[in-house]
Symmetry: C2
Subunit: 427 residues, 2 copies
Amino acid sequence: MTQPHELTASEAAREIDAGRLTATALVESCLERIAEREPEVQAWVRLAAGPARARAKQLDAGARRGALHGVPFGVKDIIETFDMPTEYGSPIYTGTQTRNDAACVALMREAGGVLMGKTVTTEFANMHPGNTRNPHDTRRTPGGSSSGSAAAVGASMVPLALGTQTTASTIRPASYCGAVGYRPTWGDIRLSGVREAAGSLDTLGLITRSIDDVALLRDVLLGRPVEPLPAEVRKPRIGFCRTHLWSQIEPSTAVLLEDAVKRLAAAGAVVEDITMPAGFAHVLDAHRWVSSFEFTRNFRHEIVNHWEQLSTTLREGRLKDGLGCSWERYVEAQHFLAGLRAELPGVFGDCDLLLTAPCDGEAPIGIRTTGNPYFSAIWTALYVPCLTVPAFTGPNGMPIGAQLIGRPGHDRALLDAARWVHDRLKG
Amino acid sequence: MTQPHELTASEAAREIDAGRLTATALVESCLERIAEREPEVQAWVRLAAGPARARAKQLDAGARRGALHGVPFGVKDIIETFDMPTEYGSPIYTGTQTRNDAACVALMREAGGVLMGKTVTTEFANMHPGNTRNPHDTRRTPGGSSSGSAAAVGASMVPLALGTQTTASTIRPASYCGAVGYRPTWGDIRLSGVREAAGSLDTLGLITRSIDDVALLRDVLLGRPVEPLPAEVRKPRIGFCRTHLWSQIEPSTAVLLEDAVKRLAAAGAVVEDITMPAGFAHVLDAHRWVSSFEFTRNFRHEIVNHWEQLSTTLREGRLKDGLGCSWERYVEAQHFLAGLRAELPGVFGDCDLLLTAPCDGEAPIGIRTTGNPYFSAIWTALYVPCLTVPAFTGPNGMPIGAQLIGRPGHDRALLDAARWVHDRLKG
């Protein structure tokens, strides 16, 4: 029998609405699951078991609050919460308590969501990892920077968690942890109350266990009426986009993707190979300079006042890049990326979505690094909506996602078409 | 003899660099000026006289830190500072202390700037005013929402202050207080550590007493090398843009602007009348829905938890609009504004900049409202760089600015051309 903690958010909300499940029972089931897995997974910076129970009881006693009534969720620890500290994965900010909720958290609570706690982030959503482990093999990284959010959802501790993405911070850990990860079109979902890393690249990231849940949570965060995805959509036209990184992919993952394309074609999708224009091979360089320059500009306070408390990873990586990047190089990189974004319609042609790898394969062994970010960073820099769905099992039994890319501003069309794809790949 | 507090930032930095002035003497002069004017102007939420003196002493004893070495500045109280509270103009946040500096504050301090204190903001940078009065006539409003920043600079208490602008919050108070106000191209100067009002419209605002200071501070905030404006520029081609609001302008202000256009033409500028396409008459409606919808979405935490502590002005104004705005209306307004932005090249034609009114005239009597925002809101919604420079004296002896508008992303070209204009109008 399905345990409550195994339900998706949409399923759980439906059960609660129908009176077949209580918020309390769902929260208790999630807390039991957390008690069982957390000692080895370490997804949480802090849990709020007491407040979550109290909130569930209150919800059970009252009228339906909204689309997330009784649904537990986790929040990456760079996102502010009025009732528990936000520490940004840095010893500089140990115990820091803000007075407000980030807008995204307030919107989820207003819709009836139950905040279960704060999830582990790498230091300032950058590369220096926390102690979180991959729930499918605790010798392996969960990916980052939204490490705890992806691990918590992947381990069925909560059905929903918030992350962010500036490079690969949602898509990569979601793929590694067997979760659905969604990065919206840049600028669509605002980040009020979320610590900025590199503003011209940052977005919120949504981590769930179904595409329906992405649609649900996206509607809540946009402040629009919730509209479920349609039951039927026409068969999509899919562009298979290997990108210039194809040689970096694990051979077994390449085989899985090539095979998936054949299965989708057999199921009736039109699939064509997409070759990106040559300029796209330089997108990662441009991303590196833009993200490093902006990150370094944003973290001036920490650089000047807390240099010794920053990790060597950060100082020798992002900050070294940023401090060494001239204004001219930054501006050139910005213009270069703007030019590539203008070329996107030609890349898509008449495809509904692109299919590509979310990362180079299974989560690597070790938790001192968070894995190859490039397969995700390309798309981050292009401002397109990105979705990874669990699609494959690698040679070591680890989950691997398929990444689906939509046109900028057409996130909903991406979700519609992606569900068709995901249903075929699961089946 | 010029007192140190009367110097612009560029002049003061030059004097300090040449050894003819110390940071300590400048800070003391500003503190004396504040002691003299603050009881009636009330520009400051809190002053940091002790820390400012200590900082000046430290700067005088050490090597040159950067382009703002020893220059005092004020910061609007929605911008975070690690060493003094940020209260957002709301009783909800009395005494709220953050652990970090906003990026803009950290960059100014790193360049040697001396933080003098936090300046009065309207409630959450919206319409409900604080107690600040116009330094040129304390019966009159300083404008808002960056009320204290504009009053402090206009009263020569500090040469520089930071504000923000979502509607008219920098350009209007700068014009009313006789200061230079600058709103950058949307997105150019990031807002990390600044409370978001309506993210798709918010920018930082710079308030100074010269265009050279705008250029200087802009370079510091962008993290780029400081490059002074050129001494000579070619005579600009100016578009005189009355806008559809011309009938709302005070007749005496209209006469001053019409006369200024004649003087600029006599000085050798090419001036032409610009008529905006009919659609631009609806820009204010669209601005209203976008700003209200986003503001209401961002302030969910306060709406749900602190409704009684919000002002009636806010509840019956922005929040009523936002709660009553449908998703469809919001999206339609966003698309409408995007369409107008795409029409801007045609509006500019071959003009280097547009000349228009920053507000309807002199600051009105009374401090319970902050004046007519529309003359500024039009341009806010269009993402263009905006600058107001003190240019006129109204019938009641109050300062009135001339607003100069540049092409999106061409802020530096706007400043170059604007200085030519300002020099002619002053002369």
